[in-house]
Subunit: 356 residues, 2 copies
């Protein structure tokens, strides 16, 4: 059972013990400014005997006006966001990039369920030098509004481009177009697509025209555009409430049950695609002989082995690093350029010629 220390020793204590002024003691730790080696070691020695573990970050932060913290706002409840390997890997890339800069990542829950207060207390009042919004981010997003109001610079990942935020994304549209052309080249004409959520409503099922006209989330719209860019009108556009295997499986069961089923299913994520593959197997359909399935993201999915999903690979760790770069730019220069990363088609074993 640990106990809180009675009284932290401060830099002033150390200075007194070493017989120097506080400012000199500060110099001994920060390394900035001139200080004699002998003096420094005397201060360090005093610190050691007093059990002083270095300057209190709170004091330093107030003075410098910097907290060294990057708030990462998940576009969804953490529970769900964390189940998405894409988000996780990007986050990992980000942390890896930020670490050497001495910046830490603070997890900020995104929009809660309706039962919760609309704006998370952390979002409203935690200290952060920059915020990263990982998903969603429409123009009228309350998260963005709060951050703007607080004067916190924003990096928006896969969101709607806006004048005062730095955007990081990938070539969704081009990648999806390339994937679609690959499937078309194989001879498919009856093509369905399974999409990411349209907006916060997170509906599930085939989308009608009206629904299609109101896609709030940029990422979903762009990947859908990629399909039409390649000249394909999907026979069905199936919306899912989240990028998870089970929602893909549900979509697969619905799309592949009928007699006039599509010969190819293009999914906006690999998790959705693997759900479709599982559903197909469950229905006794062979992939790709009876139906071709493709995803997006380029994940390694060990449980589909020996199959390899045909997919659009995006550089996840690089995306995290790019976000980190944008953060660094914002912090040093005050501005950051938009960043768009390239993607590449990965042809696997889940796509082939349509059944005769």
């Amino acid at each position: 059972m640990p106990t809180l220390p009675a009284q932290r020793t401060t830099l002033a204590d150390v200075a007194a013990a070493a017989g120097v002024s506080v400012s000199t003691a500060s110099l001994a730790f920060s390394g900035s400014g001139p200080i004699a080696d002998r003096t420094r070691s005397r201060v360090l020695e005093a610190a050691r005997t007093l059990g002083y573990a270095g300057p209190n970050p709170l004091g330093r932060q107030l003075r410098s006006g910097r907290s060294g913290i990057v708030g990462v706002v998940m576009g969804d409840a953490l529970r769900r966001a964390f189940r998405d390997p894409v988000t996780i890997q990007v986050l990992d890339g980000l942390v890896t990039r930020l670490g050497p800069l001495g910046l830490g990542v603070l997890l900020v829950p995104g929009p809660h369920d309706a039962s919760q207060p609309p704006v998370d207390p952390l979002l409203a009042s935690a200290a952060m030098d920059v915020a990263v919004q990982m998903w969603g981010g429409t123009t009228d997003d309350p998260v963005l509004e709060t951050l703007r109001n607080r004067g916190i610079p924003i990096v928006l990942v896969e969101g709607t481009p806006q004048p005062d935020v730095a955007a990081v994304g990938i070539d969704d549209r081009g990648g999806m177009a390339e994937l679609t052309r690959h499937v078309v080249a194989l001879g498919h004409t009856r093509i369905a697509t399974v999409t990411l959520p349209f907006d916060r409503d997170r509906a599930e099922g085939a989308a009608d025209e009206a629904r299609l006209a109101r896609i709030g989330w940029e990422i979903t719209r762009r990947r859908l555009r990629g399909v039409t860019d390649a000249g394909v009108q999907p026979v069905v556009v199936w919306e899912t409430p989240a990028s998870l295997v089970e929602h893909g499986a549900a979509a697969g069961r619905a799309l592949l049950s009928g007699d006039d089923r599509p010969t190819a299913v293009l999914c906006q994520s690999d998790l959705l695609a693997s759900g479709v593959v599982l559903a197909a197997r469950e229905l006794g359909l062979r992939v790709p002989e009876d139906v071709s399935v493709a995803g997006f993201d380029g994940l390694d999915l060990p449980w589909l082995a020996p199959d390899v999903l045909t997919s659009v690979s995006q550089p996840l760790a690089d995306k995290g690093a790019a976000i980190g770069d944008a953060v660094a730019d914002l912090l040093t220069g005050g501005t950051a350029e938009d960043r768009v990363l390239p993607v590449s088609l990965r042809v696997g074993t889940t796509t082939g010629r349509p059944p005769a």
Copy 2:
């Protein structure tokens, strides 16, 4: 391209604009202390017109001595930690619990590769009121040492109990014993186990006596003890470098290839177990007719469907909440009791009678 605000407006500006003193303005925001309604609304009005979004957290933190931040140290590179659904779900439970308390989670990378500095800069100097070590945590852990030195109270999850840290864990040993008894009751005698890493070395392969004598990580040791508690001497103890499907698959291939293969494989995690199941299928073995496989954690693994892994369910979200409670106790009372959560056996479809 966002720009850093030229000059943040401070509480003093707001006070001046409202024609009150700084202390009164502070009262208007904090709500503590008496203040006339008219005065408060005047201050709030002034704040609004000045675009003041509330007290600067840095100032407040310095004064209060609290940062409102809980550092979570992953016992591994984030890259790997994040791929583990167990860690993720616990983290989610923790964040959910901490949010309403106004506490945020700061991700602190754990022990890096050997190429990196031994102690992460964040660990050494980021502001945090309490630290949570998620994995590992032996007595001589450099992470714990650094935290102790900084005087930061510690919550240790699944680590080695130590006098000055609050421990949170589950009944590993009892759960594994129960699982083992279940398999024994089915008639199995040739039982192998696939374990979590023994220590930072992360070796892979069958462990000999010498290796078995030096298991550094408590969680691995406890789950192994559970097996022997049930009176079983495993025919092989296979160590893995991480709890991932691919390492389980490698273990499965190695264990199930020979003629004198075990009839049951007990794994210390569900991810490892599902790797073993995949390897078995790959080798043409039926589960559970030819070989029984069991895991630990009680995860939902949609891609094993329609199979359900026999496993030991642990309450992951509750574990996160328990960690949050320990953190809260530490912050208010200065001490926290150890917490041990119960587990329960989940009998699925992957265990059955041994082949005749």
